[in-house]
Subunit: 228 residues, 2 copies
């Protein structure tokens, strides 16, 4: 489960203070599928980075399964980021010199999985996202939506407890997007992966247990899809 208490993130630029996140409280239960929606610039990626332990909040606390993540030492934080949480970044962040297969195998190295099994599991994930025929292509040899799908495969390959996905369907056509959303729902329902998705995509909203609306760094309202 994820608990965010009083999170704030301020950037000081010249004379101005940018309040990217300006007081957010949020609780996500184990196995829940939560979408975060809001205008461009409203703080979704900043919240993602705070929850994922990638950015220290200016104020506030994040608990992952009741552990205050600011209290973790370097190796515990590394374990959290490599085993417990999977990330799909808005800008993909793939390793440019590695193939799709090698990129997806990467988290498994930290899982202490042997090479044959790493290859098998990476192949399997890439097939699941429709890229079985592109496994040896490097990121520059892939389309935008293909790179996005490699990033998604990489996030799930290690069977993390939580996946944080930042606009995971932004570069996908309707059909491919639906396929990916079905895969993420399947991961959520059958493997119990807790899902936190930043999205503008109505199709993801419909699949969610709850929708959190943010605006100007704060939570505006929270609702169930039936009400949305």
């Amino acid at each position: 489960s994820v608990l965010v208490e009083g999170a704030k993130k301020f950037y000081y630029m010249g004379g101005e203070t940018v309040r990217a996140v300006d007081g957010i409280d949020l609780r996500i239960e184990k196995g829940e599928y939560v979408s975060i929606m809001g205008p461009s610039g409203s703080g979704k990626t900043t919240l993602f980075n705070i929850v994922g332990g990638l950015t220290k909040p200016t104020e506030g606390t994040v608990y992952i399964d009741r552990t205050d993540i600011s209290k973790l030492d370097a190796s515990e934080l590394a374990w959290l980021r490599c085993r417990k949480i999977g990330y799909v970044f808005q800008t993909f962040n793939l390793v440019p010199i590695m193939s799709a297969l090698q990129n997806v195998m990467l988290p498994l190295i930290f899982g202490g999985v042997d090479r044959t099994e790493r290859e098998d599991r990476a192949h399997e994930m890439l097939k699941l996202v429709g890229l079985g025929e592109r496994v040896h292509h490097k990121p520059t040899e892939l389309s935008g939506g293909q790179q996005q799908r490699v990033a998604i495969a990489r996030a799930f390959v290690n069977n993390p407890a939580i996946v944080l996905a930042d606009e995971p369907t932004g570069n996908l056509d309707l059909k491919t997007g639906l396929h990916i959303i079905d895969m993420m729902i399947e991961m959520n329902k059958s493997r119990g992966v807790t899902m936190l998705c930043n999205t503008h995509d109505q199709k993801i909203i419909k699949a969610s247990d709850r929708i959190v609306w943010v605006s100007d760094g704060r939570v505006e309202k929270i609702e169930r899809p039936a009400e949305a």
Copy 2:
């Protein structure tokens, strides 16, 4: 106007040939607003790169205003890419060490515009895309959708004859996306900018004069929005 005749782009990888674009003929009239739709990996970005003179086709010819662009020398090609055509890349391609304002001012340097006017025009474009308050932020200090809008502002600032936009609303929420689409329609109708948009966004489709559907590197069909 843009004329594409028999365009093909093949990549040779180990024993395999990837047919990214596999025989495309396309004619776009001056001032037209054309959308290109198709599944992830179907060849839209590759076609964009061929039309924009960024990639040489394996076969086929591109004519911009009746000029075969493969016949242009280096300085003529530079003029084409800096003055005649504006680009919104799927991966934005902003200069990381420059602010939003400096990024948008860049094409104007090639236009021989003096500094005061460059700043004024860049400010004006950034206001038009809703970023008047973020002009001094660098790309890493901007949200994904804000970076996308800087890329859009940069594409239009030089008053090019043609704008090629690759998924320009992929990272934008509904409201911001509509605002940007209205701005592009305005540029098309009032300034006569010829628009070629790769997109998955139904809102852009509705605004287009024609929709070109691509699949596996070929044109599947072309229709008017009323029929779509």
